[in-house]
Every structure is written in structure tokens, then in C-alpha cells.
Symmetry: C2
Subunit: 153 residues, 2 copies
């Protein structure tokens, strides 16, 4: 699907606040509410907009402790990859898991309440997965920037 300038501006706005009304977007982008409405529906139908979600403040729900954990498998072979990925998907503490190039095979983002909870998570859940060679945990000291929005221009 081809996006014009207005589609991109609309996507930037929706990625920052999806609860504004079509009327507001219409005023800001100098179009009618119906025009905006139809553009949004088109973006949804085309699969560009995949959904709408609420974002929460993790510090207020006892999930302040975030860790980026680098994982290397014993051997990077198909069976091990499949099993590791399947097991990781089950772990609720893991919000992101990327298969990456570089020194490690995977990088995971993990949210828990505190260091003790992380220790428990590592011992009883993560390293319980077979074929893990080594891990290296980077604790998050500070979130300098943390956005879900991809800037379009």
C-alpha cells in the first residue's frame, strides 16, 4: 500500500496517542472527519496498523526491574533453535526475544519485580531450558528512551 504525506503524519499521531478523536486529527491535518476516518480504516485493513494497546507504568505494578539477557546456545542447530524458541514463548516474564547476529544467538528483554525475582527466574525458568550454552545479563540502570513509535517521514 502506498502512503502519502498525510497517512504518515496520521500514523505518527496514532502511534503516540490512539485515543484522540477523528475530529481532532481532522483539525490538525486539515481534512474532514470522514476523510480521516477512512484513512484510518484503510491503514487497519491493509495491516499497517496491527492493533491498539494500553501502555502501563511498570514501576507502579511491581515490574520495575528490567534485564536484557544475552543467550548463546550450545550449538546453533535447528532442533535446539526450535526448542529454545518454543520454551521462551511460554515465559511470561520475557516480553521480547530476538534472534540476532553477533556474539550471542538471542537477546531477551525480561521484566520482573526485583533482583531476587530475576535470580529465581534465571534458575527455575530460563536456564531450565535445554541447550543453553551461556548467558550474559545486562541490568537496566536507566531508560533514556523507550518508545513504541516508529517515526515516518
Amino acid at each position: 500500500m502506498k502512503l502519502d504525506k498525510i497517512d504518515k503524519e496520521l500514523l505518527n499521531l496514532l502511534q503516540n496517542d490512539s485515543k484522540r478523536t477523528t475530529k481532532e486529527f481532522a483539525n490538525e491535518l486539515k481534512l474532514s472527519t470522514t476523510a480521516i476516518y477512512e484513512r484510518i480504516k484503510r491503514l487497519e485493513r491493509s495491516g499497517i496498523i496491527t492493533g491498539y494497546v494500553a501502555l502501563i507504568d511498570r514501576t507502579k505494578v511491581d515490574r520495575s526491574f528490567t534485564v536484557l539477557c544475552h543467550v548463546k546456545l550450545i550449538q546453533h542447530i535447528k532442533d535446539f533453535v526450535i526448542q529454545f524458541e518454543r520454551e521462551v514463548l511460554k515465559l511470561k516474564e520475557v516480553v521480547e526475544c530476538f534472534h540476532t547476529s553477533g556474539d550471542y544467538d538471542y537477546i531477551l528483554k525480561i521484566h520482573v519485580s526485583d533482583m531476587q525475582a530475576y535470580r529465581d527466574f534465571m534458575i527455575t525458568k530460563l536456564t531450565a531450558i535445554r541447550h543453553i550454552g551461556s548467558t550474559q545479563s545486562s541490568f537496566i540502570i536507566n531508560e533514556v528512551k523507550n518508545s513504541t513509535a516508529v517515526f515516518l517521514e
Copy 2:
């Protein structure tokens, strides 16, 4: 603010789809629409819900290439830290930047169109920031899991 079981279930639902109606949530959680409505407002007022956003499919808007870039400063002193963080905030390609423990000082998530665009980004933008000692880029081969939702129980 104290959260009961229903608040947590409601937060789990809202984190996965915020466009459902209060009526739907009401049916699912066996409460009236007003009760759900009031709980949502309370979660918003308390700051637990920080906002609502649209999520997009990056592969459809020419931002398929994601890199996790590890950055080490020449020296981890206050002035360098402040300047680096200030400059990183300006870079639209950087969606996340975490100050971390471990071998590197920062881990950044970067969305660009392709490898060539990443090369341009590195040369003209990232390494143009002063005081960077070294960088190590991990290219994302596959997204095994990628969620914005923190599971509550």
C-alpha cells in the same frame, strides 16, 4: 494504588487490545459496563495506564531492519553521559536506549529500512556523537517474541 485480581485482568486485556468496548470487558469480567469504566478511569488517573497507542507493522512502512547496538563511552563520566543521552534522544531512528550494566554502557534499538540505511545512520548520526568509545551491532535475524504487554497476576 492497590490492584485487585480484576484490575490486573483488565490491565492484561487492555495491554493486548485497547479498542474493545467496556461492554465486552464487562461481559468477560462479569461486571457492569460502568464498573469497568470506573476501574479504567481509576487506572488512568493513578498513572498506571500511561496512554494508548497504535502499533504498526514495520515491514509495511519500510522499516524492516532492526538493530540492537551496544555502545561504550570512552569514559563513563557525567559530562559524557549527559551529552550522549541528549544527542541520542534526537535520533528518530532510535526507539529505545537503555543505560545498562555489563560490558557496554548503553544498548539501543534502531529501526531503519535496510543495511545501507543503517550504515548511513552509523556514519552520519550515531558515531558523530562525541565520546563514543566503541560500538557493537547485533542485527535482528528474527523476532521470536515482541510484545509491549507486561503480564500481571
